[in-house]
């Protein structure tokens, strides 16, 4: 394993200290592992809190700031944060209007956020949870853990953050989050496995000419293994898989995220975006807004995910609203 770390046990603490040093405009609680905005809102507003295992940077800490999250809780690598941490975050940013938890749908996250929500409620902090579960690689069934939350987290956190900033009420903000999630689908392909520091070696072995199709963001293998093919063909498969599960028709507009999994050069991500753009254009679907880059990563995994969120005027307006975070900034 080759990593720029001190010891596997101290990765999170060390990286968080670095994040705090790099972002003096944020309030980073190193003990509780909470990244929060540097200043409290002037008037009560719904606070948006997210979190999840580390190794997905810039998610979620990179999205804390005006217009997006109020706080983020990084767990250990690929391990959801603990309830204490989430409760500390809720306490830190609650300004009287309640808290929305944005939770990617993984058993660990659901359980830990769930326990935290109970504890917060006991303290009189009203909590609503927005579950993100956009990954069409996973069958959606009530008998299983259900679909994973991946790239759509960016769209949900951006939209929910923008609406909260405008002073919308707790239920309204939570309902929007659910709508954005429902309008989003993702699918990912990996060219290499990720190496969890504590594991010390790649999560799976992949021959030089094979890829994993339908991977998540935790280094787990995908739904199947395939031969590596030209980007155009891979993208065609990814786009078609996403569309097959989507309710998009010609004339619809989307926000598209071509997301790097951590080890893929931006040059390739732009190339992929070009293919996505062309494939969608063939089907009459217009990309109204896009992001190309590393946003929801899986440590050093090479590969990409595509997220398409159907976007009407409401969502586009929220998307365009100003945001000022470490990873996403516009005016």
């Amino acid at each position: 394993m080759k990593k720029l770390i001190n010891t596997p046990d101290t990765v999170l603490a060390d990286a968080l200290a670095g994040f705090a040093a790099a972002h003096p405009e944020l309030a980073v609680d190193l003990d509780n592992r909470v990244i929060a905005r540097g200043s409290r809102p002037a008037a009560p507003k719904v606070a948006v809190v997210s979190g999840g295992g580390s190794g997905h940077e810039p998610l979620h800490g990179g999205f804390v700031g005006p217009g997006m999250l109020d706080a983020a809780c990084p767990g250990e690598v690929f391990t959801s944060p603990v309830p204490d941490q989430l409760l500390a975050a809720a306490r830190a940013v609650h300004s009287g209007a309640g808290v929305v938890f944005v939770v990617k749908n993984y058993t660990g996250d659901v359980l830990n956020f769930g326990l935290a929500a109970e504890l917060a409620a006991e303290e009189g902090i009203e909590v609503r949870t927005v579950l993100v579960n956009d990954d069409v690689a996973v069958e959606d069934s009530t008998w299983t853990a259900g679909r994973r939350g991946t790239g759509a987290t960016v769209m949900v956190e951006k939209a929910v953050g923008a609406l909260a900033e405008r002073g919308a009420g707790l239920d309204e903000v939570a309902a929007l989050g659910a709508r954005v999630n429902a309008a989003s689908r993702s699918f990912a392909i990996a060219l290499t496995a990720a190496t969890v520091p504590a594991a010390g070696k790649p999560g799976f072995d992949l021959p030089e000419d094979e890829i994993e199709v339908g991977v998540g963001i935790h280094g787990e293998p995908g739904r199947r293994r395939e031969a590596l093919r030209p980007a155009r063909e891979l993208v065609a498969e990814v786009v078609d898989t996403v569309l097959a599960d989507h309710d998009l028709t010609a004339g619809d507009e989307v926000i598209a995220l071509v997301n790097g999994l951590g080890g893929t050069p931006l040059l390739e991500l732009y190339l992929v975006y070009g293919e996505v753009h062309a494939r969608l254009a063939e089907r009459g679907i217009r990309i109204a807004r896009n992001l190309v880059g590393n946003y929801v990563t899986s440590l050093d995994m090479a590969g990409f995910s595509l997220t398409l969120t159907k976007a009407g005027p409401e969502l586009l307006e929220l998307w365009d609203a100003p945001v000022a975070t470490a990873a996403l900034t516009w005016t």
Binding site: D9, T79, S80, G108, L111, N112, T144, G219, E220
Partner: protein
């Protein structure tokens, strides 16, 4: 009289911690195959914190106090799926054991409460390829053999848990991360089931080593 007392339950938890420390790499390897490769480090982090927490716990008032503290610490320190699940299980066992000692039947009831907590929180059924698939047969074996003495019951529970782990191999996961693999989850043991086996083996080890004082 064949009872579990506070030293013994402390010894149990310490045995778990030692086993987790020793088996960390194996648990992580199992989790790498069908999960995200952190189960070993998750539990080691948790039980390291548990040992520290128990050191600061002076004069626990009951068997349950030890287990409740263990569970709370796991919840506070582990994260992931296993933190809340095992944490809640230990807290439920703690709540079920308010006395300074517990007899085999009481202890069996506590183990059952632990399993119930896991199932309530995680909503896993037997056969979903989770800790439930080791804890369920272990509990059944313990209950079946409880009147043969605690050490023997713990031993048969550990064996049943081990069998439970093996029985997860052909299963397709329906809960936890392994479920994302669909049919590719078949052919591997469940890491959580494997750590549950460690928990029951640790009980047998503690009981075999410590002569209960009660």
């Amino acid at each position: 009289m064949d009872v579990i007392d506070i030293p013994l339950v402390l010894a149990w938890v310490r045995e778990i911690a030692a086993a987790v420390e020793q088996q960390e790499a194996r648990l992580t390897e199992l989790d790498s195959a069908i999960g995200d490769g952190d189960h070993g480090s998750n539990l080691r982090r948790g039980f390291t914190a548990v040992l520290a927490a128990l050191d600061t716990l002076d004069e626990p008032a009951s068997v349950g106090a030890v287990l409740t503290r263990t569970g709370s610490t796991l919840i506070s320190k582990v994260g992931g799926a296993s933190g809340p699940l095992y944490g809640s299980a230990f807290r439920a066992m703690g709540a079920a054991l308010p006395g300074e000692t517990a007899d085999p039947a009481e202890f069996a009831a506590a183990l059952a409460a632990g399993l119930a907590a896991i199932r309530k929180l995680g909503a896993a059924e037997p056969g979903d390829k989770t800790v439930v698939d080791a804890w369920t047969p272990a509990l059944a074996a313990f209950e079946r053999t409880a009147d043969t003495g605690l050490a023997a019951a713990a031993g048969s529970a550990a064996e049943a848990a081990a069998q439970g782990v093996l029985d997860t191999v052909p299963l397709q996961a329906r809960k936890g991360r392994a479920s994302y693999l669909g049919p590719r989850s078949v052919g591997h043991p469940d890491p959580g089931a494997a750590s549950t086996e460690l928990i029951f083996r640790a009980l047998a080890t503690a009981l075999g080593r410590l002569k209960p004082s009660g």
